[in-house]
């Protein structure tokens, strides 16, 4: 039986930063960083240089989700170990899949809706995020809605879970790729025993930093380091401190289920538990190809923050300012919300 430590693996942002400074000012950055990695294991396809140790500390705002994940891992006796030699025992999730159409674009399929109008969110939002959602819905009702996809940016995780279109699972013993054809956006879930990216090297990532283990035929995933965003259009926003635990398994020949629990100390008062489904696509000729968003993207943002087309034959003059990489695609309300998050964190230090 493999022992799983549930000891302290967290660092506050300040502590993590101090550790970084020690490494850098000591002039030993390369050597010290190399010590955090494990040697490549036989059969692993993973890059040795990108394999943080299992007990790599992560910021304290991920504590609850990580402890839930470690508890599941302990209950699974450290997880089912698959090797190349036992590949045939792994789940066969080959084929083409797509989000269950009955679940629409909602993050929680249980959320009600009336026509195109969503009902109340099932998320237990903090007051600031609840107010932000209400303002968003007011703006949508007024015709002012902007989607970062219209800037040809990725959906980003966890919104990524809600996107329609074709999906594939590429399952190997050391990592699983879960691909959505939209923007050719692929999540990489490492199951080779590695820990999360060290804080000194980490930054928000569109699809986060995902590690996982197999509990028999169920893939259990812990994801941190996401970028701020929204769960979907007309859905709540989430902060960059969001983390999730997923349990992904096949229900029947044509259905894969993802049981997702979301923690967000900024946006959620209590974890948000949702269950999503993905259905097998049996249409002949279905194949995932490279998705180039700019091919005929003629959507532009209006001065009031809405979305509009440039139709064929039309020419418009667009005023565009410098793109701040982390915020240019956000709505003004999102910019304000996430700036408040940063200010609150700064005030704590």
């Amino acid at each position: 039986m493999k022992k799983v430590s549930t000891g302290s693996r967290f660092c506050s942002p300040g502590v993590c930063r101090n550790a970084t400074l020690v490494l850098l000012t000591g002039g030993l950055a390369v050597t010290a960083a190399a010590q955090t990695y494990l040697p490549r294991e036989p059969g692993s396809t993973a890059n040795t240089w990108d394999k943080p140790a299992p007990d790599t500390p992560i910021p304290s705002y991920y504590r609850d989700s990580y402890q839930a994940y470690l508890k599941m891992k302990a209950a699974a006796h450290g997880g089912t170990q698959y090797l190349r030699t036992s590949y045939e025992k792994m789940p066969d999730w080959s084929g083409i899949w797509t989000r269950a159409a009955s679940e629409g674009l909602k993050f929680d399929p249980k959320q009600t809706s009336k026509g195109f109008t969503p009902g109340p969110t099932t998320a237990d939002l903090t007051p600031r995020y609840k107010a932000a959602l209400q303002e968003k819905l007011r703006q949508v009702a007024a015709g002012n809605e902007w989607d970062q996809l219209s800037d040809c940016l990725p959906a980003g995780y966890p919104r990524w879970l809600t996107e329609p279109f074709l999906r594939e699972f590429i399952v190997t013993p050391s990592e699983t790729w879960w691909v959505n054809e939209q923007q050719s956006e692929a999540r990489r879930i490492y199951t080779d025993g590695r820990g999360h990216i060290p804080d000194a090297e980490a930054q928000p990532l569109w699809d986060g930093d995902s590690i996982g283990f197999w509990d028999g035929q169920t893939l259990v995933v812990h994801t941190i380091r996401v970028t701020h965003g929204e769960y979907q259009r007309s859905q709540p926003d989430y902060s960059s401190q969001t983390s999730t635990v997923e349990r992904i398994h096949q229900l029947d020949h044509d259905t894969i289920e993802d049981e997702v629990t979301v923690w967000d100390p900024k946006g959620l008062r209590t974890p948000w538990h949702v269950v999503m489904h993905y259905k097998r696509v049996n249409t002949a000729g279905s194949r995932i190809d490279m998705w180039s968003c700019e091919t005929n993207n003629n959507v532009v943002r209006t001065p009031t923050g809405g979305s509009q087309f440039i139709l064929k034959g039309e020419t418009v003059t667009i005023q565009r300012s410098y793109k701040e990489p982390d915020t240019f695609y956000l709505t003004e309300a999102q910019k304000k919300l996430f700036a408040e998050d940063d200010a609150l964190d700064a005030a704590k230090k």
């Binding site: 159409a101 002012n144 329609p164 091919t295 809405g306 139709l311 064929k312």
Partner: protein
Amino acid sequence: MNKILIICCLTALTGAALAHHSAAMFDLSKTVTVHGTVKEFQYTNPHSWLQVLVVGSDGKAVEWGFETEGPSTLLRVGIKAKTFLPGDKVSIVANPMRDGRPAGAWISATKADGTVYNLRPNRPAAAAR
């Protein structure tokens, strides 16, 4: 006899509708039906567009654009890259633009042979007449 093809076994397009951008530019409470000739079919991501020349009462042709989802989603309702060729006669049902420009969110298409492609198949087919 007109051939009617209504593909109704999938509900893919409803969930996927306008997944790359807001639908606020369309008036989803209204539908329009136009009859015209295909000029171009952009069968691509992020959105496919069917460009149709529509001759008005003044005898002048106006180019309309009808937007829908990309190839993989259209394939599931039977629409392929060469389903609509330049010169084909079509009738289109769509949600019009709020600002009155000649475009819309594509709901269904009826070809000259009577074939109907319903792009929102979990709803009653909106065959153009």
